[in-house]
């Protein structure tokens, strides 16, 4: 049986409650055995270094960050914290995941 998958888009910054919601939803899904793909865009890229996301990566979270957004918001690209990529990856997440949630 194929694993279920969840895609999450986060476009708000560290000060938004969306971050906590996205982190907790990701954690719960991973515990339930779901593949989780998080895409950070716009001000969401400012959360890429959040310790919670980095901890979840050790549990299997696939974390992506918009390369353009990182450039716009002055986020230094550290390839050990996330995979920096373009909107094609977001499009794939939206298309292929069983469930998709956007926090904007």
């Amino acid at each position: 049986m194929k694993k279920r998958s969840l895609g999450i888009l986060l476009s708000t910054g560290p000060s938004s409650a969306n971050l906590s919601t996205a982190v907790h939803l990701s954690g719960a899904a991973l515990k339930a055995g779901v593949d989780v793909y998080v895409y950070l865009i716009d001000e969401g890229v400012l959360t890429v270094d959040d310790p919670c996301f980095q901890s979840l990566r050790n549990s299997g979270l696939k974390l992506f960050a918009c390369a353009y957004g990182a450039q716009q918001h002055g986020v230094a690209r550290k390839d050990d914290t996330a995979t920096y990529c373009g909107l094609v990856i977001l499009s794939n997440i939206v298309s292929t995941c069983d469930r998709f949630v956007a926090f904007n």
């Binding site: 939206v94 298309s95 998709f100």
Partner: protein, 131 residues
């Protein structure tokens, strides 16, 4: 880092999802309106927007204005917008929204009532709302 991806088999077996992007952000006060349109462009790019619907409410219809001088990131908008024109994307404008006096050349629009918006959202596979 190795990135595991949903299998190709899964991708092939599933039809392209119907995506609705709702933009309610005011393009004159927030960069998020133009950014939302850029994201919509990315989501629709695999099939020229065939499965993409864009609903504009509040002051978001000003994204379609032929005058982008007051729009935040108007230069980015001008760069991306011709793609929507090329795709023939029809923008749904909420009937209670605010509208610009004139639209960019080639832009297609249609009115949408609030109750029809609910139906559209219900029928979508994916919904992204930017407010």
């Amino acid at each position: 880092m190795i990135v595991l991806w949903p299998s190709t088999e899964r991708f092939m077996a599933r039809p392209s999802p119907k995506i609705v992007v709702v933009i309610a952000a005011d393009p004159m006060n927030s960069h998020r309106a133009v950014e939302a349109l850029r994201i919509a462009l990315g989501l629709g790019s695999h099939n020229e927007g065939m499965d993409l619907s864009i609903i504009l409410s509040g002051r978001a219809p000003f994204l379609l204005s032929d005058d982008t001088s007051d729009i935040i990131d108007g230069d980015i908008l001008e760069k991306h917008f011709p793609v929507f024109v090329e795709w023939g994307t029809v923008f749904s404008l909420m009937t209670d929204a605010e509208f610009p006096s004139s639209y960019v050349h080639g832009c297609l629009t249609q009115p949408i009532l609030p109750q029809d918006t609910a139906t559209t959202l219900e029928a979508a596979d994916r919904v992204l709302i930017f407010s």
